[in-house]
Symmetry: D2
Subunit: 343 residues, 4 copies
């Protein structure tokens, strides 16, 4: 009963098969190989638009490098106050952007609103060097709270960003999980909704080590090859990443895996909601469930073999704790039911 | 007949098998898994000393992060003027060290001498803030010229560094190739010769994407976990790197592959030396051969299917060019002979 | 009636006299001159302890460089959410520390409490690289709200910092104003209360361009000469800064000027409090007064020649605005009375 | 007999008078004052073109910030191998440009040639991310060797830079000395010869602490206000810098002082050349003389009160040393003659 994280998984069968399939022989290094080329094209198909794609090895690198493409001296990046870039990346975004500031916006269930962004932007009036200036906005999709921004919500945030002339970045560490929840196309959830650059996460949902920075406007990608190389993220054996993405996209594999993970989360949530032992802090929309348990119950579940993290929370009873339960393509129905039977 | 680079290879059979073997099931992320633990121990056995090991994904990241562990404001890093860190890493070392300076030392066949280091150090007298101050020395083993520092040479450089109180880093992108050339132990070629920190390269010689920063003094590694995470190099699925290293070290696999690559280079060199079509710029010691061809001949070899890079060179005839030919664990005897038959 | 800022002043008579006095002749550059030496000693007398003193040219440089002496990869600096380092320095602290994060602590009247610091520290548990780690705490004395931390308050914050093993920095842009308010010694308000490093501001209170970074533990200053030079803050004509400080300290000049500025602020505050046209947002303790006016009244005062800034505020009536009025050594009693007569 | 450096001087009478003149009263901070405005206009007159001017406090800051306006990830800055930015600024250029690399070009008497620049540029072919890419060229005028680039030489270097699409920066720490040597206009020596940005040094030649970054193309200056503020170089009391420049430019004061300094250097050089005790390493063109003395003689001169630095040199006799003698607006004819009488 492992609900600790979706990055406790290995690679999916399709990904592993692709890696094996492309292992033999020789191929040009540093992205000059035909597989990298074909997979890059595949990205453009997936997003229904010619995109600039850069493979990197971690989500932190994807986010930090993507944001660094929009770096300005004195620049501010606006994000949710629970955003991974803010609380889980050890200042990598600040480092890769040569000292930009992350400005935290509050909002329930992992989302901030256009209004909160507007207020924060207003605090940095044009031309006042003391305060710095806006540089980018970043949202996480699905959010750190396992919720999903609707297309209208993304568009509304994008409108505010565009009005101020700054870019919108999407941290898509759980892109597929959000996508299948909304049941829209990758294009709909990104550039059609005003997203300029995407950290396309594939590791959690079936790869070993494959993330991509996807620019929807090729101009924004100018110089990014240097940023990636300077950032230590240019793979010599690029086909190693390309192969994973090939397997990932094959036959809708990625969507199927995400659907499974989400379904497991939904089942978990239903079971917890129906139980007397726990309650949902909010309704999950992707592959993360945040139930509130009595501390005693939480300990009991742990003892019974349920692996999950406690999560920072506010407004709980003194004897309560918030748990984060993450499902993945490897979560089995049996695991879920076994867990629910403990409640 | 591909002699372009050893990073045109895929993963060795042993590495691929290990990846497959460890793919199933769930394991804690970010290095908390048992496989990472056991492979980390394996490193200590390999180096006959308790070492601090940090997996990263590229050689550039390994070098830059390793050097950043010794960063000082105003600091200088001394390296050969053909060093990868200087000419092939797009300022990553400067970036990761927040602006340290790489000071280039000259020397034939990819090596600099203790004397040249001493002279360069003397130009930065203690306490003169204008000029900055020494921070680290780095050597590449095997060198960018396919030669290998002898243990005495390493020790002599280390002595100069130690006298000035600065660290010695070894860029071991082709560590195994140097090791089997010298036929010494990993310990002999590193800490016993005065090396403080090593970029242990495994990608070129059989992995997909596996490099490690190895500290021989645990104190030097204090805080390195933060440097790696801030640098976007902490793998979520750490066992993916660990598995590769497991396969790499298994049954002396890594040494065997390196021996093969070196033998292929030696055969190439012998054949070229014996031919009338080319001459060796210098005697190769690892898996890189640098022959001088007439430009016409070079074009002819290319046309016949020999893939190799032209390399920057001095003191050649106007109608000559320097080629770099790299062999790998995948180079076959047939390929070599086919090439030699063209000469 | 200029209450815009204390940095609208020029230099005090004593400072100007000292500059003139030391202008003739030749003196070693970069701090090797006898005047720099003697003024450095003067600092040690002023602080009753051997201190390491480094002249710099702006408050932003002083703060950023001082904090950079305690920089750690992934490090966090804790400050008040209205702190100058956070909102008025265009990311200079982030830049000079190679990407540290400023963590904002809330608290009324420009001060945060030990408890809020403790909570923020607890969110960065030891050894969790994702979240980063604490590196320093900074308080502003007098605060951006014109209030002053009492010695007990400083000590309490220092205790929390010390317990976690991190340094306490004081931004003393208005050090003298705080000092004369508390009527304690410089030593009492700094190292005796647990302050490790001070940005000693002299520009606002009588210099042209003279700030100093003062380390109370010489070990902390090791390497700071390089940080300053790398930061573009090593003055060639060091005696130019030294002369200003000489004039500043002469005959208690600095304290006298600060007392005057504070007295003018107190008179302003009394008058506003007694008036029917405004109210004090809080009681001023140094040389800044924050009155709340009806917007209409504020416009009227402006029109009548009162120069002052509007300030960000919460919880005001819709027709109200918060003003910031700063007094200085150049504020005259007549100016103050003229202003009060408008109320 | 002080020939140590021109920054051993104080401020000229005109500069001191201007500082005193503008000391009284109140003026807006951070460059919003009328004096900063009028002096900024004065710069445009001096350069016969509308320029963007930013005051800073040190030459190192001027150079580093100016270059940072042209920073590119993976970027290279080409300079002479004795350039101040390379050897005397403690990595400030690397730091302020977030890790750009300074590429040293050799050349006699402090100057590099267009050909050497062309060769160095060729080593960084377009689009090869490994090697990085050209970002800027910088020349020092007058050079560190006390020589002066002719207008044709500047233009030739500029042509090479322009062809590659990179900017030309001039480190004008001794701008006035070069200008009066060439007897051309400031416009001729800068933008008319292809210079894009200038570090306009005034400190050595008569100010206390006044340097300016001057952009000849306003577009290049976009965002520079943020760079300066982030760099800790935005003066609160901007009129303090403005006043110095006012005095500096007044009645051709700056040119007169530079002419005097150069004349003193020329007299020194003539005397040394005519003597039997020393020889000129090369012919001085500005206010620095580089004589070669026997070591014994050098010691004797020192003992007799002549203050001057020994300078790094090649190709000297074992018993010889190279001295650097700098004259300034404060050097007196008597000093020079007293020195020459020792030869």
């Amino acid at each position: 009963m492992i609900f600790a994280s979706d990055n406790w998984t290995g690679a999916s069968d399709a990904v592993m098969a692709a890696l094996t399939r492309h292992n033999s022989g020789m191929a040009p290094a540093y992205g000059g190989d035909p597989l990298t080329e074909s997979v890059t094209k595949r990205f453009s198909e997936v997003f229904e638009r010619e995109v600039a794609v850069f493979f990197v090895t971690t989500g932190t690198a994807a986010n930090s490098l993507a944001l660094s493409a929009y770096a300005k001296p004195g620049g501010a990046i606006f994000c949710h106050d629970e955003a991974h870039v803010l609380v889980d990346e050890c200042n990598a975004p600040e480092f890769f952007t040569s000292g930009m500031k992350l400005v935290a916006l509050k909002g329930p269930e992992g989302k901030f609103t256009p209004a909160s962004l507007r207020t924060a932007l207003a605090a940095l009036p044009e031309g006042v060097v003391h305060h710095g200036r806006p540089a980018a906005v970043t949202i996480t999709q699905a959010t750190e709270a396992g919720t999903v921004y609707g297309l209208d919500e993304i568009r509304a945030i994008s409108d505010v960003a565009t009005k101020r002339g700054i870019a919108l970045h999407m941290d898509g560490a759980r892109f597929a999980n959000a996508l299948v929840h909304l049941d829209v196309s990758p294009a709909d959830m990104t550039w059609r909704a005003g997203v300029d650059v995407l950290s396309f996460g594939a590791t959690k949902n079936g790869c070993w080590c494959a993330e991509a920075v996807v620019f929807f406007n090729k101009d924004d990608a100018e110089g990014f090859g240097y940023l990636r190389k300077r950032g230590g993220q240019l793979l010599s054996k690029s086909r190693f990443a390309a192969a994973q993405f090939e397997g990932y996209f094959e036959n809708g594999n990625w969507l199927e895996l995400a659907r499974h993970a989400n379904a497991m989360a939904a089942r978990l949530a239903d079971g917890i909601h129906a139980s007397e032992s726990g309650r949902l802090a909010w309704v999950p929309q992707a592959n993360e469930v945040f139930p509130v348990f009595k501390r005693e119950k939480f300990a009991e579940l742990n003892a019974a073999g349920a692996i999950m993290h406690e999560w920072p929370a506010k407004n709980l009873g003194a004897d309560e704790t918030l748990a984060r339960m993450v499902t993945s393509f490897r979560t089995t129905r049996d695991e879920v039911e076994a867990f629910l039977s403990l409640l």
